[in-house]
């Protein structure tokens, strides 16, 4: 049977506020347990929440970035469930009146096609604490530092039809929230987590099949793999005539499988009701418009500008604008080089290769953008060739100094003096008379293949410093005996 995959995603993004959503405790990853809590976060009787202004502003920014209706009146609601890392017995969230309403994103796939993914809503809510199950004499340890950390939960429509599309969408959300500076985007530390709702239906059928929800997947790669394994699992069951059970599942990256979380049947009975401790949040049009006017350039806008202003291809523009740090690096370097194509090639090529090898983000690149630009300028003005530039980049990476310092110290300046190149070539021709005679006896086609040998000899003799653009024509001339 030909199955169609239907996916909707819920993405939890942790907002980069200094203090918590409802209290004045610090927010931060990796602090000593329970050192960032207050009476409010601990759910002490009588402690009342006060809403963080900055979390509100960030949520409205996001709403604008996805072309959404902003909830001019939004209401906090209590989502009730019992778990020891949720001391109040409810999570303060939003239900009927979220801060961000319907919006959408146009997502570009690797093959260049674009699909529009609807976003149902995005609402503000508080995170819970952490349960540590290991090593406490058969007991569970509770750390409430994360309790009341602000989250923006972004809920998509079931518009996604493949694992690739899901990953492209999550990457786009990641790129938007980091551009806006409202989330650090650190998935390994849980700043962005994704729940995947997935079902299959026979191609052409209108009704959705029964879905499962895979909880808390925290990397792009795992999202893709979790989707593939879950599609396979559901297809196997359906092809055997079985039925999918609606349930919550966990993805295990080590075994590359999803498994049921054994949720109790009534686990989803959250009995939402408006939170009596918090009043409705009412926004003015001026407030909402001011935030819209102050939005930074978004990834899609930047990609468009890179094409119009710098003449980059659509592909290059998209790659470079996918992360704000990479885009900034490119623009800073290009301000020095003033050759967007050359700069783009080197940022996406050699620099990205080194970053990948060292598993570094561009934010932590040991060579800063200006120094990188200065290296490219030396290719441009023919001081060095591309091959030498790669070696110099490695040396800069290892902290040996600026491009010019390394060129000077290692004597890497390219030889561009015609006389010097001619002298070098003459020496090589004298030392290889047999090859020269063979060359002269061959026809044009064969000659083209044989010239490589001589170029290699020249580059070797010059220790890579001869300008290849100059060597070739002079060599051909001299081989012909002209």
């Amino acid at each position: 049977m030909n199955w169609e995959v239907v996916i909707g995603l819920e993405i939890h993004t942790q907002l980069s506020t200094k203090s918590k959503l409802f209290s004045g405790a610090a927010v931060g990853f990796g602090a000593e347990p329970n050192t960032q809590t207050t009476l409010v976060d601990l759910g002490m009787p009588g402690a009342l929440p006060v809403f963080n202004k900055e979390a509100l502003r960030m949520a409205v920014m996001f709403g604008h970035a996805i072309n959404a209706e902003i909830g001019m009146t939004s209401v906090f609601a209590r989502k009730n469930y019992f778990y020891p890392d949720l001391p109040k017995g409810y999570q303060t969230s939003q239900m009927d009146h979220p801060i961000v309403g319907k919006g959408y994103l146009d997502v570009m796939l690797d093959d260049g096609t674009t699909s529009r993914i609807g976003i149902t809503r995005a609402h503000l809510e508080e995170d819970a604490g952490k349960s540590l199950h290991e090593d406490f004499q058969g007991m569970t340890g509770i750390d409430l530092n994360r309790s009341s950390t602000p989250l923006l939960e972004i809920v998509s429509e079931p518009d996604i039809r493949s694992a690739k599309e899901a990953v492209a969408y999550v990457k786009m959300i990641h790129s938007i929230v980091t551009y806006l500076g409202i989330c650090d985007g650190n998935m390994a530390e849980g700043s962005m987590r994704c729940d995947i709702n997935l079902s299959l239906r026979p191609k052409g059928q209108k009704e959705y099949g029964t879905r499962t929800e895979i909880k808390n997947v925290n990397s792009f790669r795992f999202i893709e793999k979790a989707i593939y394994t879950e599609i396979e699992r559901q297809a196997d069951i359906l092809e055997d005539g079985g039925r999918i059970i609606q349930e919550t599942r966990l993805y295990d990256p080590e075994k590359n499988e999803t498994r049921s979380m054994r949720s109790k049947e009534d686990a989803n009975d959250y009995r939402y009701f408006p939170c009596p401790d918090l009043l409705p949040v009412v926004l003015t049009q001026v407030y909402v418009d001011d935030i819209k006017a102050s939005l930074p350039e978004l990834p899609s806008q930047k990609a468009a500008r890179f094409q119009s202003e710098h003449g980059l291809s659509e592909y290059d523009a998209n790659v470079l604008s996918s992360s704000r740090a990479m885009a900034d690096y490119f623009e800073t370097a290009n301000a020095v080089v003033k050759d967007p194509k050359l700069t783009a090639n080197w940022v996406m090529g050699e620099l990205s290769k080194l970053l990948n090898q060292e598993q570094l983000d561009i934010e932590n690149c040991p060579v800063n953008a200006t120094a990188f630009g200065e290296l490219l300028v030396r290719i441009q003005d023919n001081t060095i060739n591309g091959k030498t530039a790669k070696d110099i980049l490695q040396a800069m990476w290892d902290g040996e100094g600026s491009a010019d310092e390394i060129i000077e110290a290692k004597g890497l300046k390219q030889v561009t003096d015609t006389g010097a190149i001619e002298a070098m070539i003459q020496t090589i021709l004298n030392a290889n008379t047999a090859q020269v005679e063979q060359y002269r006896a061959s026809d044009e086609d064969k000659r083209k293949k044989m010239i490589g040998f001589f170029v290699g000899q020249v580059m070797k003799a010059s220790q890579g410093k001869a300008n290849p653009g100059m060597v070739n024509p002079i060599l051909v001339k001299m081989l012909k005996g002209e």
Binding site: G24, F51, N80, H133, T140, P274, L279, P280
Partner: protein
């Protein structure tokens, strides 16, 4: 409208309340009369009336995004039945 015994037991479970059979009978009776009152209220025509989320005619005040609280872990942990390594300890939760 009334609520049956299973309904009472389900609500009690969700609220983590342990009820005796006698309690269940009593709650079945009192919750049913609450529901009867709700039913009566539902006969009122509320067309065009916005749902009330708070009886106060006020809107939420906002707080500056500043860290105003310091670490008071020792005081907080002093209230707990059992602690270790800065953590609150609770009976093992398996889920």
């Amino acid at each position: 409208m009334s609520i049956d015994k299973q309904g009472v037991q389900k609500i009690a479970h969700l609220a983590r309340l342990a009820l005796t059979d006698e309690d269940v009978d009593q709650y079945q009776h009192s919750l049913s009369s609450v529901l009867a009152l709700v039913e009566q209220m539902q006969s009122v025509n509320t067309d065009g009336v916005e749902p009330l989320s708070n009886p106060l005619e006020m809107t939420q005040r906002l707080r500056e995004d500043k860290v105003t609280e310091e670490n008071r872990r020792d005081a907080f942990l002093a209230n707990a039945a059992q602690t270790e390594a800065g953590l609150f300890l609770v009976p093992k939760v398996i889920d």
